[in-house]
């Protein structure tokens, strides 16, 4: 597709369950980012993938959070044993190359933990 695609758009789950969020980046974009946005807040960086390099996981808030990406394709963000504090919108962005270029965002997955 033309833009970054994320699924599901909304996810409601019970505390303690695992969830998996999906991101399809813009075709040809080598860099992929995950961010978290709490209600009324700015975005917080979670993780970065660049090609086949080791990901930068410095923003992951706990070991319950993990993400995978194979090559330059789809990425999944997994949250295990969800807590109510995990409720937020999870946004994915992709960027072409390593230089100073804008990141392009999907519309996010709104995650609600009951």
């Amino acid at each position: 597709g033309a833009g970054v695609s994320q699924s599901p758009s909304n996810k409601v789950t019970e505390k303690g369950k695992d969830v998996e969020l999906r991101c399809d980046p813009i075709s040809g974009h080598t860099a992929l980012y995950w961010y978290r946005q709490r209600l009324g807040q700015g975005l917080e960086f979670l993780i970065y993938f660049q090609g086949n390099s080791a990901p930068d996981k410095s923003g992951l808030p706990s070991d319950r959070f993990s993400a995978e990406r194979t090559g330059e394709s789809v990425s999944t963000l997994t949250i295990q044993r969800t807590q109510q504090e995990d409720s937020a919108v999870y946004l994915c962005a992709s960027k072409a190359g390593r230089g100073n270029q804008p990141q392009h965002f999907g519309d996010g997955t709104r995650l609600s933990i009951l």
Binding site: F45, Y48, Q103
Partner: protein, 113 residues
């Protein structure tokens, strides 16, 4: 950690007027800045960017000004339209490494008819 902040959380202007949204950043090492527009239920949409070797950049109806001396960034929107109503974020990063964006909390711009 260092973060990008905004002077005003809300801003209301009359349709057709110009608006200015301000942003302060604290990391003097940042060399790339982006303004994003976010509408309800949507992801941030790129508006305009500027590199640290510039102090002004213009787009269609938008101008970004960068003052590195006082670490200040502003977004000017000319002849505002109802569709400009949204939350606006500035973000900073620096070349090299992950180039993770550091966002402020945003300014909600409301255009009154």
């Amino acid at each position: 950690g260092e973060s990008v902040g905004l002077h005003l959380p809300t801003l209301s202007v009359q349709e057709g007027d110009n608006s200015i949204i301000n942003c302060a950043y604290s990391n003097s090492a940042s060399d790339y800045f982006i303004w994003y527009k976010q509408e309800s239920g949507k992801g941030p949409q790129f508006i305009i960017d500027i590199r640290s070797n510039m102090d002004k950049r213009q787009g269609q109806r938008v101008t970004v000004l960068l003052n590195k001396t006082v670490k200040h960034l502003s977004l000017q929107i000319a002849a505002t339209q109802p569709g400009d109503s949204a939350v606006y974020f500035c973000a900073e990063t620096r070349e090299g490494g992950a180039q993770k964006l550091v966002f402020g909390q945003g300014t909600r711009l409301t255009i009154n008819p």
